[in-house]
Homo-oligomer: 266 residues x 2
Amino acid sequence: MVSAERSMAVGKVYLVGAGPGDPELLTLKAVRAIGEADVVVYDRLVPSSILATIADGVLQINVGKQAAHHPVPQEEINEMLVRLARAGRTVVRLKGGDPFIFGRGSEEAAELDQAGIPYEVVPGITAAQGCAAAARMPLTHRGVASGVRYVTGHRKANEPLDLDWKSLADPDTTLVVYMGLANIAEIVRNLTAQGLPGTTPVLAVCQGTTAQESRICAPLEALPVALKDVSFSGPVLFIIGKVAGIALERSARSDAAICEAISVVA
Amino acid sequence: MVSAERSMAVGKVYLVGAGPGDPELLTLKAVRAIGEADVVVYDRLVPSSILATIADGVLQINVGKQAAHHPVPQEEINEMLVRLARAGRTVVRLKGGDPFIFGRGSEEAAELDQAGIPYEVVPGITAAQGCAAAARMPLTHRGVASGVRYVTGHRKANEPLDLDWKSLADPDTTLVVYMGLANIAEIVRNLTAQGLPGTTPVLAVCQGTTAQESRICAPLEALPVALKDVSFSGPVLFIIGKVAGIALERSARSDAAICEAISVVA
């Protein structure tokens, strides 16, 4: 068996972005990679509607964090990918959004590099894009937002949020905060302290682009209070900036309201 | 005829991101929209390999800028979309990248809103994501780049580049500059003047994710000189930050070099 394994051709790993949630937002390349896979290694941000597209007989390995479950540590995931590829498998490592935007995909790529495993990276629609399109809210707009930036609001245990607040408090740049729900009060406090107007509109989206999508809109200064009235189940994305005001205007004009609850409570 | 047109149901417009160039990076939703379309209105950033996927009999309208051709003004494009939809057509407005990131898609959405035309926005893989995945270069990486931002290096005629250089010169954020080739010397001068180290690695990519993709890597301070030695045909994307160093390391270890010409000329 050992010699048979040794003579076996090494497999390949695809680091694949599954997009924001809607299975139609998978790329053709992601679909092809999933179709070639012997094994799919996925985490909790990949919705079941996408897992349902995986063919019978393909091994599915859940390495995601779930309430009451400890996630598989990143180092173990890295090793698992190398081990599966060395056993000749074609592996899809399926991650929510884009593997190279807050996805730790680069850590997996580094491990595969080091081990000499062939791999390919398949980009995915990141949550900011999916949520913006669904809400008809641009991320940039001439004269309103000259650029866009993505940061994470997640922090390591017992460490402060290490963000350059002065730079982030720019009214002409759309600011997208991933994984910021737990620390939103601190985020709002720091942004307003650095001069971002408290009236700046914010769109908060949970499970964007899925049938379970829920949103609220609120001015920045009212956001922590507004969030107390909703129960989001899943990671929340915050899009902060004048573009969120465009979404609100469009919502007002449309039959299908963009915000299920527009909480302008300030 | 007039009364027949009046009784005709109004059509629908899809504002669709075609992605960075590789036709496999279209989303399933984009493919479906193109399949439903009677008319596809496209611009110069949509490669011919994607136009080739459009079915025979679908009207294709080129509104793009091309050398020696004047582009169709944005206002005319907006009106064209409204007119086609009012004539009962299903229209795909196909744009390079993502329609809501530097795509002026939001201006088209505003016009459709105003006219009461039903429309849907289909996000696309933006150039930064496509080029990063192809070069195996993350846009964020723990301990290296805590976030990413997209700006445009394009300016209106005779106006200075209106960017907050101090905020952009952040060594811990990946900076992606779209459409910056014409003004790259000014961009480099401003970033280094604000303290971004001249040794910061930069990846410059032209026609990323296509068979014609070409790249150079150079330290920030050497970039304007390095660019004189290459002839890029098409828009160039600059990815500035320590993540570009990761791409270089991976390139050095790989059989398939990530940079066709690594010009470290400083």
